[in-house]
Structures are given as structure tokens and as C-alpha cells.
């Protein structure tokens, strides 16, 4: 007699979903047949919390997921390596404790915000006073340390080639993050969850906490949930916080800044029919405090020729209210599972966006699956977005040339391949190609800026390689 122990694969999972729907349709009790609630007491069971699957649970099982992300932006810009390990402990009575550890190593260059120009542009970064060691100038030899004439101030100076997008090469950071989550059932149909996170890098720290409640209704055909998330961030830029919309110079000594974010999410998940699960979420959030990028500039150009006159630090409003409406669907048909989702977003900075996403998981064999996915995103610009400001005109209260606040469209095309290598272990590889397009030559461009590419959006490639396994 041979004894086999669990971790269901595609067929079993699909069957679980279909069966849940069969009994949901009889008007009887889906609670014992829903994939999420089942698979419990006869031992360890299906996996669910792999990065791509979010339907069942790992009751009584400990799951470890280790992955490494490689991210590379085209044009020699940001390059990141991010190892992530998460451990989820599933208690036998429905409690779940999860711990996630992340380390990010970022290097490369980011656009400094200035517009490109036909001649070489020189930028001087703020730096510490003389005698104080600085590390910002260490990157790649693209900048040099200079002593500003007539002062004892050491600054870092770098240049951008003609027609090139000005990049700041002083970009190098390592981020460490810890996230904790705990979910516990308080009765047969209600779950309470708490979470907390801490993220730290040299010039930025973020602390967050969350609290959520989920309740199943109508024999678990419907789940309603509400959650609140609080976040407190402090920003302590390398050389102090610059005064917004003042000229880039060598001496900026503003104090550290902070912001608080409060976010609430209301959600409904519904079994629509025997092979369709739908989810609707509404989220509203308010961020208050310092939301400006302390390193980012905006060019002030000559109103006729477009030539750079000076560079100012950007400025963003202190308050931002965001709302979004999300609808997701998970549809199981035969050996495939389709995820289709859409999202509408609006914020008080004037950005409206639309996201549409589709992923289709196809089981090739019981141990191998492929999951192609496509994502489309389009947003309007923030009302204070400008490619540059014009010399002689009244300065606005807020101005930023950050392409993330501009109008753009982005598409992501990717493929994930997963291979079950042991009963409880899955190896997966996911590759994505991300491409932003925007207005490179806006009709309003002046002078010689008409011929420069003013869109600083990115093209990026990322690859994740991971292994997930579970044990009792």
C-alpha cells in the first residue's frame, strides 16, 4: 500500500472550484466545499499562497517562498536586485502568521527632472560642508567633487550630454523591509487581521500598520471585507531638504520631513456562478505631508529659444486624496484559469487612470503550467505637471516634471512558467517587459525644445526566479 500526501495541482484546484460552484448552485452550503475553507483536517493540503494563486489555504502547513527579482531599465538607468523571502505559518484552526523579508539593492541613474537640451548641461548637487565625507559622488565616475569658488562648500558636479536626458548617477541605495501579518478567525464566518511593516533605506523610513475584518455571508457565497491602513514616512534627504521651487545650489539644509497616509478599503467577493469568482474593491486614501521628491529638478527655460536658464527644485502639494474602484474576476474553464481585472483611479492632483489586466494560466501537464499576462495602463497628467517652466512667468505653487505624474500609457507583457519539482515544491520564473509611452514632442514645446525628446518614461525588463515549498 502506498500512501501519498498532498499539495494539489491544477486539476485538483480547478475541481475544487467547480465543486464549490456546484454546491453553491444547489442553494446548500458552500462552506464545506469552497476551496478556501476546505482541505483541512485530513492533513496538510493545497497550496495557495504561491505568488500566482490566491484561492485555497495551507491549513497546518508552513510555506516558504524565496525569490529573487532582477530589474533593469533601458538606457543604463535603474538596476535593482531584490531578494525576497516570505514564510507563512498556518495554524490548524485557521490562524495565519506571515513574515516577509526584503532586501533591495538599487543602482544606476534616475532622470533628475531637467529637460534635455542641445548643449551640455551642468548640474551641481548639494553636498556636505568641507571636511565631511560624502558618498554620493562615488557612482560610476559620472560626477566629480568640486569646491565652490569663494566658499568652503564641497559640492558634487555632473553633466548631461547634448540631447541626452539629464540623469543623476548618484543613485545608489539599499532598502531593507520587514512585513508581518496575522489573521485569526473570531467565529465561523468572521476573520480579523492585523499587519505591520517597516522599511528603511538611507534617506527614507516607512512604518505602517493595518487592521481588517472580513465576514462571509450567504453560505460563503459572498465575503465582505473592510480594512484600514496607516502609514508614517520620514524623509531625510542626504543633504537636507531643499526649499521647493528654489534654485538648485550647493547648500540645502532643511529639516527632515514626514508624511502620514490613511487608507481604507471596502471589498466584496462573490461567487457569481459555478466557475466565476468576482471581486469589487473601493479604496479611498489621504496622504498628508511631504510628498515632493527632494532630489528632483525642473528646468526653467527661455521663453523663445527653450534654452535652460536655471534649475529649480520641484514642488508638490502636501495633500493628496486618492480613490480607486477595482473589479477582478477569476474564471475557471476546463484546464485554464483566467484572471481579468480593471481599475479606475482618480486623485486630487488631477490624475485619472484606467488599468486593464488579463492573465491566463494554462496547465500543460499536471506538473507544468504557463501563464501569459498582459496589462494596459493609461493616465492623465497631474494638474501641476510641466515638462519645464518658462522664465519670466509667475512661478506656480506646485510644479513637477516627474514622468510618473505626466500623461502616459504603459503596457506590460509577461510570461510565467511554473514547474512542480517535488510534491510540495514549485519552481517558477516570470519575465516581464514594461514599456511606457508618452508625449515626446508636445505641441506646446518652444524653441529648440521642439526637437528634444521630452518624455522621460521608462522601458524596463524584470525577471523573477523563485522557489516555493511547504512542510508540516
Amino acid at each position: 500500500m502506498q500512501l501519498i500526501s498532498p499539495t494539489p495541482a491544477a486539476l485538483t484546484r480547478t475541481l475544487g472550484l467547480l465543486t464549490a460552484s456546484l454546491f453553491a448552485a444547489t442553494g446548500l452550503h458552500a462552506q464545506d466545499v469552497s476551496p478556501a475553507a476546505s482541505h483541512s483536517a485530513y492533513g496538510p493540503s493545497p497550496d495557495a499562497r504561491t505568488p500566482t494563486s490566491d484561492t485555497s489555504s495551507d491549513l497546518g502547513l508552513t510555506r516558504v517562498d524565496t525569490a529573487i527579482l532582477f530589474y533593469q531599465e533601458a538606457g543604463g538607468r535603474v538596476k535593482a536586485t531584490e531578494p525576497v523571502t516570505s514564510i507563512t505559518f498556518n495554524g490548524s484552526d485557521g490562524e495565519i502568521l506571515s513574515v516577509k523579508l526584503t532586501a533591495d539593492s538599487l543602482t544606476g541613474a534616475t532622470p533628475n527632472g531637467a529637460a534635455p537640451w542641445k548643449a551640455t548641461q551642468t548640474f551641481i548637487s548639494p553636498s556636505k560642508s568641507k571636511g565631511v565625507q560624502t558618498t554620493t559622488t562615488s557612482a560610476s565616475g559620472h560626477s566629480q567633487t568640486v569646491t565652490l569658488p569663494g566658499t568652503d562648500i564641497v559640492a558634487s558636479q555632473y553633466t548631461a550630454d547634448p540631447h541626452a536626458l539629464p540623469l543623476d548617477y548618484g543613485f545608489r541605495d539599499t532598502r531593507y523591509a520587514v512585513d508581518l501579518g496575522y489573521t485569526t478567525p473570531i467565529d465561523a464566518v468572521t476573520r480579523l487581521s492585523f499587519g505591520g511593516g517597516l522599511s528603511t533605506e538611507r534617506d527614507f523610513k516607512s512604518l505602517s500598520g493595518s487592521f481588517g475584518l472580513a465576514r462571509d455571508l450567504f453560505d460563503k457565497n459572498t465575503t465582505v471585507s473592510a480594512a484600514v491602513n496607516l502609514e508614517y514616512d520620514t524623509s531625510n534627504p542626504y543633504f537636507g531638504t531643499p526649499q521647493p521651487l528654489t534654485e538648485m545650489s550647493a547648500l540645502e539644509k532643511g529639516p527632515n520631513q514626514s508624511k502620514t497616509v490613511v487608507n481604507a478599503v471596502l471589498g466584496v467577493t462573490q461567487v457569481m456562478n459555478r466557475n466565476w469568482l468576482a471581486q469589487v474593491n473601493y479604496s479611498v486614501g489621504s496622504a498628508n505631508g511631504y510628498q515632493t521628491d527632494p532630489y528632483r529638478l525642473i528646468s526653467v527655460v527661455d521663453g523663445t529659444t527653450g534654452a535652460p536658464v536655471r534649475y529649480l527644485y520641484e514642488s508638490r502639494p502636501k495633500s493628496r486624496i486618492r480613490q480607486s474602484l477595482y473589479m477582478g474576476n477569476k474564471i475557471a474553464l476546463g484546464p485554464t484559469v483566467t484572471d481579468i481585472s480593471g481599475r479606475l483611479y482618480h486623485d486630487s492632483w488631477g490624475i485619472n487612470s484606467v488599468t486593464a489586466e488579463i492573465a491566463e494560466r494554462v496547465a500543460i501537464t499536471s506538473a507544468l503550467y504557463v501563464e501569459p499576462h498582459l496589462r494596459y495602463y493609461s493616465q492623465s497628467k497631474a494638474n501641476f505637471f510641466h515638462d519645464y517652466l518658462i522664465d519670466g512667468q509667475t512661478l506656480p505653487d506646485y510644479a513637477s516634471s516627474d514622468s510618473r505624474l505626466g500623461k502616459f500609457t504603459a503596457t506590460t507583457v509577461g510570461l510565467k512558467v511554473g514547474l512542480k519539482v517535488t510534491t510540495n515544491g514549485e519552481l517558477y520564473v516570470r519575465a516581464d517587459s514594461y514599456n511606457q509611452t508618452g508625449a515626446a514632442h508636445p505641441a506646446t514645446a518652444i524653441g529648440d525644445l521642439k526637437t528634444e525628446n521630452l518624455f522621460s518614461g521608462i522601458k524596463a525588463t524584470s525577471v523573477i526566479v523563485g522557489y516555493t515549498f511547504a512542510f508540516q
Binding site: M1, L15, G334
Partner: protein, 302 residues
């Protein structure tokens, strides 16, 4: 058409460990409900409710009963038949299982039993006899436009691979809806429990031996979910040194070669366990690796 016959309960209540057992016959099998309560009248009413559910499903889905829903479909003479919501649900489920199993789970395969009689003899049908029936097998030939089904002339459907398991699941759910009493529902070896036993213990289920001496091969303990067993030691044919087990592959019309003699699968519901154990048998010699790759908790006897 209504299939809600009113039937007199026939079962018997007897004392058993920690409570009562209610036993009756339905769907051609001995059935029993084990209940951990000391309230005899409650036990009797729970037993009768489960029996009523079993009889209702039998009368609705047995292919042997002339006025069952399945018989109406099988006697439709090629015309479309409109089905009630429950039947639409079951057939749609069977349809999905057909797709999911790439044709291995097929409710039209029962016709093959006309030439395959697994009586322990050496009466193997000729390839011609089998081929003569193959045109009459194949769910893809059926017109399925819910809520209507159009069965080609000479084809039949048989929900035998689904109905008993479905009845177990429904019975457990009905009993759970009216009482917290821990129950085990066992219809002819397809069984499911409502949850752990009264003091949090596990239910013990013996796996019947495939040998003739009727011992047990092992004991499974479970506190939730369902268990079914596919395979029957007594139903086979034996010729020229080859043992033909009773699991027929609907795609070939022939028994699966080297199929395990018995596959026992645990799953959240009886319906799932039943389909997984049937599919495992259809994988023949690879049954064990199929179950392993599916991560299903199972016991395989070769």
C-alpha cells in the same frame, strides 16, 4: 416534470459507539449514517432526512428506474430535453470534468457495459464488438445547451459515477444545516464526515482488502472531508494471464491496463474524491504518480 417522490423511510436505528447508527439501502448499496448524539429521536430524524436525500437522488438519477430524469434523457429519441436547475448543475459539472480530464471522465461511457461484463470470467468481448459501440460513446457528440440536452439516438448517459457521491455531499450538508451533531455519512463506501468527532477526535475508516479473505488493508483517520474508493476486487475478467479491471477508458472502449485494484482518495467533498479516484484508475500504472502530482491524499493498492 417533478422527481420528488414521497418515500417511506425504511432504515433502522441502532446504538453505536458514542451515539447511533442509522442503516438503510439505497442506490444499490448499504448506506449508513453515524451520529454522535445520545438523543435517539434526533438521531432517527437525522437518519431519515439523510435517507430521504439518498432516495430522492436515486429516483431522480438512477438509469435503472423508468421514470427517472436520466431515463427520460436516455429515452428522448434524439430530441432536446429541458432540465431542471439541479440536473443542469450536475451535467454542467460532468461536462467540465470531461474537459478537465481530456475525455477520461465521460458520462456517456455506460453503453460499453453491454459488452463488458465483469463477472470474474474469461468472456472478453471481441474488438469488433467494442468498436461497434464506440460511435455511441463520447460526450462531445452530445448537444449540451443548458438547460437543454440533446442526446443522439443510441447514446445514453449514466450519472452513476457522480450521483452517489453527490448524494453523500448533499446529505452531509442537509444534516449540518439542522444540527451540530457530528455525523459520518457512508453510501456504499463513498463517505464524508461533518467535521471532527464530538471530543475533537478523528473518525476511523477501514480500507477494505482487495483480497478475498476480507480483512482490512489499513485504517484512515479523518476529521473533515470525504473519502471514496474506486476499484472493486470482485469485478474483473481474467484471460490469457491478463487481468481486466472494471474501469473502462471511454476513449478506447477497453479496460485500463494495469489499473490499481483499488484507489482511495481523500478530498473536501465526496464528488471531488470520486472524480479523482476514477481519474486515478484511468491512469493505470501511473495512478500513483498522477495522484502524487495532483497532491491528493490517497491510498493506492496494486
Amino acid at each position: 416534470m417533478s422527481y420528488t417522490a414521497t418515500l417511506q423511510p425504511q432504515g433502522l436505528l441502532a446504538a453505536a459507539e458514542n451515539g447511533f447508527v442509522y442503516q438503510f439501502g439505497a442506490m444499490g448499496s448499504p448506506c449508513e449514517i453515524r451520529m454522535e448524539t445520545h438523543d435517539a429521536s434526533l438521531a432517527l430524524s437525522l437518519g431519515e432526512i439523510a435517507e430521504a436525500e439518498a432516495l430522492r437522488i436515486e429516483h431522480k438519477y438512477s438509469r435503472y428506474l423508468k421514470d427517472s430524469c436520466v431515463s427520460h434523457i436516455n429515452q428522448s429519441g434524439g430530441k432536446a430535453v429541458a432540465l431542471d436547475a439541479e440536473t443542469v448543475g450536475l451535467i454542467a459539472y460532468a461536462d467540465q470534468c470531461y474537459t478537465l480530464s481530456a475525455g477520461q471522465f465521460d458520462i456517456t461511457s455506460g453503453v460499453l457495459r453491454r459488452v463488458w461484463r465483469f463477472d470474474g470470467s474469461a468472456n472478453i468481448p471481441s474488438p469488433e464488438e467494442v468498436d461497434g459501440l464506440r460511435d455511441r460513446v463520447g460526450w462531445s457528440k452530445v448537444g449540451w445547451h443548458p438547460p437543454e440536452i440533446s442526446l443522439p439516438l443510441d447514446m445514453e448517459i449514466d450519472l452513476g459515477g457522480l450521483a452517489k457521491e453527490y448524494a453523500v455531499d448533499l446529505a452531509v450538508q442537509r444534516l449540518q444545516a439542522i444540527s451540530d451533531t457530528p455525523v459520518l455519512v457512508n453510501f456504499g463506501g463513498d463517505l464524508r464526515v461533518s467535521g471532527p468527532r464530538a471530543k475533537g477526535g478523528r473518525w476511523r475508516v477501514a480500507i477494505e482488502s482487495v483480497e478475498d479473505d476480507s480483512g482490512t488493508e489499513g485504517v484512515i483517520e479523518l476529521s473533515d472531508g470525504a473519502i471514496t474508493t474506486s476499484g472493486d476486487a470482485r469485478r474483473y475478467l481474467f484471460k490469457d494471464g491478463v487481468r481486466y479491471g472494471h474501469i473502462l477508458d471511454p476513449r478506447t472502449g477497453w479496460p485500463v491496463r494495469d489499473a490499481p485494484r483499488s484507489v482511495t482518495v481523500a478530498a473536501p467533498t465526496c464528488v471531488e474524491a470520486g472524480i479523482l479516484s476514477t481519474l486515478a484508475m484511468l491512469h493505470g500504472r501511473d495512478a500513483w504518480s498522477f495522484l502524487k502530482s495532483e497532491g491528493v491524499k490517497a491510498w493506492v493498492l496494486f
